[in-house]
C-alpha cells in the first residue's frame, strides 16, 4: 500500500460529498437510490479483475473469479433494475415513454 495521506483525504472528501448529494435525493426515489448506489459500489469488480488476471496462484484466481461473478451480477442487475424503476415514474402531465 502506498502512503495513507492522499487516501484519507480522498475518503474524507468523498464522504462529505456523498452525504451532501444523497441528502438531496427526494424520498420518492429512495428505492432506486438504494439499487443505484449498490450498482455503483459494484465497482469492486475492477479489484476482482485485478486479482483474477494477476492470478498469482490458482487459489487467488479462484477467489477472484467468484468475486467477478458476484460483482458483475450487481452491476448488471443494479443498473438495469434502477432504470426499470425510474422508467415507471411520470408526472401527471408527461405520459410514460
Amino acid at each position: 500500500m502506498t502512503d495513507l495521506e492522499p487516501k484519507l483525504f480522498v475518503f474524507l472528501l468523498a464522504t462529505f460529498l456523498g452525504l451532501e448529494v444523497i441528502r438531496r435525493v427526494s424520498p420518492l426515489l429512495h428505492t432506486p437510490l438504494m439499487s443505484l448506489t449498490n450498482a455503483i459500489s459494484a465497482i469492486v469488480v475492477v479489484a476482482a479483475i485485478q486479482v483474477t488476471a494477476e492470478g498469482h496462484s490458482n487459489f487467488s484466481t479462484f477467489l477472484g473469479t467468484l468475486a467477478v461473478i458476484a460483482a458483475t451480477t450487481n452491476i448488471v442487475g443494479g443498473f438495469w433494475i434502477t432504470d426499470r424503476m425510474l422508467k415507471m415514474f411520470r408526472r401527471e402531465s408527461s405520459r410514460r415513454e
Binding site: 500500500m1 495513507l4 487516501k7 480522498v10 475518503f11 464522504t15 460529498l17 456523498g18 452525504l19 448529494v21 435525493v25 427526494s26 424520498p27 420518492l28 429512495h30 428505492t31 432506486p32 437510490l33 438504494m34 448506489t37 449498490n38 450498482a39 455503483i40 459500489s41 459494484a42 465497482i43 469492486v44 475492477v46 479489484a47 476482482a48 485485478q50 486479482v51 483474477t52 488476471a53 498469482h56 496462484s57 487467488s60 477467489l63 477472484g64 458476484a70 458483475t72 451480477t73 450487481n74 452491476i75 448488471v76 442487475g77 443494479g78 443498473f79 438495469w80 433494475i81 432504470d83 426499470r84 424503476m85 425510474l86 422508467k87 415507471m88 415514474f89 411520470r90 408526472r91 401527471e92
Partner: protein
C-alpha cells in the same frame, strides 16, 4: 524533497499498475478519474425524477469506462477467467433484473448487498494470501485489510439472513436466544481480537480464516433475531458497511475510484438508515440490540372487543360515491396483495368523477424506503399525487374518505398515546381525522410491530376484511355499476 524522490515515483507508478507500463497505468487511472466524476454526477442527477434516468446512464458509462480501463491494464495476461466470471455474472444478474417483480425489491436489495460484500471479502482474502506469500505486508495495510474482510464477511451473512427473512425462507418467528446480545458481543470481540492479532503478526496466516469465520458468524447472530419490521434499517446499515469495506479495499489496492465509490455507497446507506430510524423514532442500538417485550403490548381483545365495524365493497363504493376528497394510504399489505394496479383503476374512476384523490406515503410504509412510491409508479400513478407525511397530515381534516390499504403500524394511534408500545413516538399518518376511514386488510392480525391497532375500533372506521387486491377490484366494480 530529496533527489531520490522522482525515481521512486516512477517505480511507484509502475507499481500501482501491476504488470503494466507506466503509460498504460496513466490511461487506467485517467479512466478511473472520469468514472469517479460520472458516479458523482449519477447520484446528483438521481435527486429528481426528471434527471434520474440520465443519472443511471452516467453510472453505466462510468462503470464501463472503469472496467475497460482495467482490462486494458492486463493485455498481456490471459484473462479467460475474468471473462468467464463476467459472463456468468451477467447470466445471473440479467434474469433477476428482467423478471423480478417490483414487490420483491427489498429482498433483491438485501441479496445484492450480500453479493457486494462477498466480492469485497473474497478480494480481500486473495490479497492477504498474495501479500503473505511475497511477505510484503506492513502493519497498517494488514489492519485495514482485516477490517475490510471482517466487514465484508459479516455483511455477507447478515444480508443473506435479511434476504431470507424478507423472502420468508426464514420464518420471521425466529427470535433471538435469551442472551443473544452477550453472544453477539463476544463474537464481535473475538473477531476484533483476531484482527488486532493479525495486525501485529501479519504472517500468522492461520488466524485469517478464523477472522473470516468469526465475521460470518457475527453477521448471522446479529441479524437472525431482528424482527422483519427492522430489516430495512438493518439492510441500510449493512449497505453502509459494504460501502465502507469497498472503500477500505481501495486503500489497500491504491485504487482511488474504489475509495470514492465505496464512500458514496456507504454514506447513502448511512443516511437512509438514519431517515428510517427517525421515522420510527428508534435508535440504531435499539434496532440492533433492542428486543420488544411482549408484556408491554396491550391485548387485542381489550382494544377491539366488539367495537370493530366491518363493511362490504358496496358500502365502501357508496361512501366514495359522495366523496369530494379521498386519500389512499398504502402499506406493506398492498405490496403483498400486489394491489397497486387495482388501486390505479380506483384512482382513475374516482378522478374521472371529479373526486380529488391523493396518496399518503409514510416514510417507512412497506418494507423499504420509497417502497410504496415504486409500486404506485409501476401502476402508472403520477408521482405528484404521492404526498409525504408532513405534507398530507394537515389535510386529513378536509378528507371525506381515507382508504387504508394494507397499512397498519404507520397509521397506529398507539404510537402517540401509548408510551410503552414498541412504536411509541413514531410519527404516524393521522387518518383518524378524516370523516370516514376504510381499512382494507384480511383480518385483525397485527402488522410487523406485532401490536393491535385502536384505529380499527374507532367510531369513524369501517373494516373491509379481504385480500387487498380483491377488495379494491370489488369496490371499483361496485362503483362502475352504481354509475
Amino acid at each position: 524533497m530529496n533527489s531520490l524522490f522522482p525515481t521512486c515515483i516512477l517505480l511507484a507508478q509502475a507499481g500501482d499498475a501491476g504488470h503494466a507500463t507506466s503509460a498504460a497505468s496513466v490511461l487506467v487511472w485517467a479512466s478511473y478519474l472520469i468514472a469517479a466524476a460520472l458516479f458523482i454526477l449519477s447520484l446528483k442527477w438521481l435527486s429528481h425524477p426528471r434527471t434520474a434516468r440520465r443519472g443511471v446512464r452516467a453510472g453505466e458509462i462510468g462503470m464501463a469506462l472503469a472496467v475497460i480501463g482495467t482490462l486494458l491494464m492486463y493485455e498481456v495476461v490471459d484473462f479467460k477467467w475474468v471473462l468467464i466470471g463476467m459472463v456468468l455474472g451477467s447470466l445471473i444478474g440479467a434474469p433477476m433484473a428482467i423478471w423480478m417483480p417490483m414487490t420483491a425489491v427489498p429482498q433483491r436489495t438485501a441479496l445484492s448487498h450480500a453479493f457486494g460484500a462477498l466480492a469485497a471479502a473474497l478480494v480481500g482474502t486473495a490479497h492477504y494470501y498474495e501479500f503473505n506469500d511475497t511477505g510484503r505486508i506492513d502493519h497498517i495495510t494488514m489492519a485495514i485489510l482485516a477490517i475490510e474482510v471482517l466487514l465484508g464477511s459479516l455483511t455477507f451473512t447478515g444480508s443473506l439472513v435479511a434476504f431470507g427473512k424478507l423472502q420468508e425462507l426464514i420464518p420471521s418467528s425466529v427470535k433471538g436466544l435469551p442472551n443473544q446480545n452477550l453472544i453477539n458481543f463476544s463474537l464481535l470481540g473475538a473477531a476484533l481480537l483476531a484482527a488486532i492479532w493479525l495486525t501485529i503478526f501479519p504472517t500468522h496466516h492461520l488466524v485469517f480464516p478464523l477472522l473470516v469465520l468469526l465475521g460470518l458468524a457475527f453477521g448471522l447472530s446479529l441479524v437472525l433475531p431482528i424482527g422483519g419490521a427492522d430489516m430495512p434499517t438493518v439492510i441500510s446499515l449493512l449497505n453502509s458497511y459494504a460501502g465502507l469495506s469497498a472503500s477500505l479495499m481501495g486503500f489497500v489496492l491504491d485504487n482511488y475510484l474504489l475509495i470514492i465509490a465505496g464512500a458514496l455507497d456507504g454514506s447513502s446507506g448511512l443516511i437512509l438508515s438514519i431517515i428510517m430510524c427517525k421515522a420510527m423514532n428508534r435508535s440504531f442500538t435499539n434496532v440492533l440490540f433492542g428486543r420488544i417485550d411482549a408484556s408491554a403490548v396491550a391485548s387485542a381483545d381489550d382494544v377491539y372487543g366488539g367495537k370493530v365495524k366491518s363493511a362490504t365493497a358496496e358500502d365502501v363504493a357508496m361512501l366514495l360515491d359522495g366523496a369530494r376528497r379521498v386519500v389512499v394510504v398504502p402499506g406493506y399489505g398492498m405490496a403483498v396483495a400486489q394491489a397497486q394496479h387495482a388501486v390505479h383503476d380506483l384512482f382513475d374512476i374516482l378522478e374521472s368523477r371529479g373526486t380529488e384523490v391523493e396518496f399518503a406515503i409514510h416514510p417507512v410504509a412497506g418494507r423499504m424506503p420509497g417502497h410504496m412510491n415504486v409500486l404506485l409508479a409501476e401502476a402508472d400513478i403520477p408521482y405528484d399525487k404521492l404526498k409525504e407525511m408532513d405534507e398530507i397530515n394537515p389535510t386529513f381534516g378536509q378528507t371525506d374518505v381515507a382508504i387504508v390499504i394494507g397499512a397498519n403500524d404507520v397509521v397506529n394511534p398507539l404510537a402517540k398515546t401509548d408510551p410503552k408500545s414498541p412504536i411509541a413516538g413514531m410519527p404516524i399518518l393521522n387518518v383518524g381525522a378524516a370523516r370516514t376511514v376504510v381499512v382494507v386488510k384480511r383480518s385483525l392480525s397485527p402488522g410487523f410491530a406485532g401490536i393491535p391497532n385502536p384505529l380499527f375500533a374507532a367510531d369513524n372506521t369501517l373494516m373491509l376484511f379481504e385480500d387487498g387486491k380483491k377488495a379494491i377490484v370489488d369496490v371499483v366494480a361496485a362503483l362502475k355499476e352504481a354509475a
